[in-house]
Amino acid sequence: MPAAAAIKVMVVDDQTSMRAMIRRALQDLGFKDVRDKPSAQEALAAVKSDRVHLIISDYNMPEMDGLQFLEAVRTDAVIGKTVFIMLTGSSDKEIVQKAAALGVNNYVVKPFAPAALKEKIERVFGELT
């Protein structure tokens, strides 16, 4: 049963307001180490040089989208097992199925309440204390 404070998180979304909102939600849940990046490329470089336990990434981003990012993480020998939760739109069922095939740990549909994010994280990590 890990304490949220011990889990390092990387939040990836190309929209500044969305990153800020997710950061606030995570901080309210007790997470202390929350980093964020506006693109998958920047996030990939950052988590390779300083590993995190959990990546929360948007799907719909230009250049490298969430699925490409997930694949890049899963095929990396060092960070390949990092927990990955994808943020998707309501009509992205096909995306969720592709993400599942690539090894995503869970997904959250936007717009989501902090409670929904907490539930999805707890399904992977267990209860956050």
């Binding site: 500044t16 307001s17 230009p62 069922k93 997904y107 549909v109 717009p111 989501f112 902090p114 539930e119």
Partner: protein
């Protein structure tokens, strides 16, 4: 000239000339976004709740739906070739005309201004606040808009999510 009318909760994105997008606003806000290089533009029409006046809608919930409404519009524009860093905006609406809803229009207008500032989107024309309904016409391909005050009564639904899911998805994979 092809005309496209949108109502509360909708957005429209256009990448060709000869199309005008219009809407009628009361307390709601319409953001007209355009990329002057890709010549892609779009308009949304959203109403957030007001914390206090409606206890079911908290401040964070308001922001959540507002940010989502803007994201839907921006993503649809990017799919047609717009680039986030080039976006410009015109903002309209946010009138306080519906009795019993307090200053809900001001809350909507404040959100829209704050969002553009946070995202670094330059704002061109704004006509926000006041007590009159507005009719907006936007030429997305040209990035030009027109706002006319009207005396019509604007039908408004109570604040609703742009898309319903709050529990985080109904596709059970995990």
């Amino acid at each position: 000239m092809r005309r496209l009318a949108i109502v509360q909760g909708e957005h429209a994105v256009v990448a060709e000339p000869g199309v005008v997008v219009s809407t009628l606003l009361g307390s709601c806000v319409a953001a007209c976004l355009f990329d002057p290089v890709a010549r892609v533009g779009g308009m949304n029409h959203f109403l957030l709740g007001e914390p206090g006046a409606d206890q079911r809608v908290g401040a964070s919930e308001m922001a959540r739906y507002g940010v989502h409404a803007m994201e839907l519009l921006i993503n649809a524009m990017m799919q047609k070739g717009a680039v986030r860093g080039r976006l410009m905006a015109h903002l309209y609406g946010g009138a306080n005309i519906v009795s019993g809803l307090g200053s809900i229009g001001s809350s909507n207008a404040d959100f829209a201004r704050r969002f553009m500032e946070t995202e670094g989107i330059a704002v061109g024309h704004t006509d926000l606040g006041g007590t009159s309904a507005r009719k907006i016409e936007f030429l997305p391909h040209e990035g030009r808009s027109r706002c006319v005050k009207v005396t019509d009564r604007v039908p408004e639904r109570p604040p609703v999510p742009v898309h319903a899911p709050a529990s985080g998805g109904d596709l059970e994979l995990f």
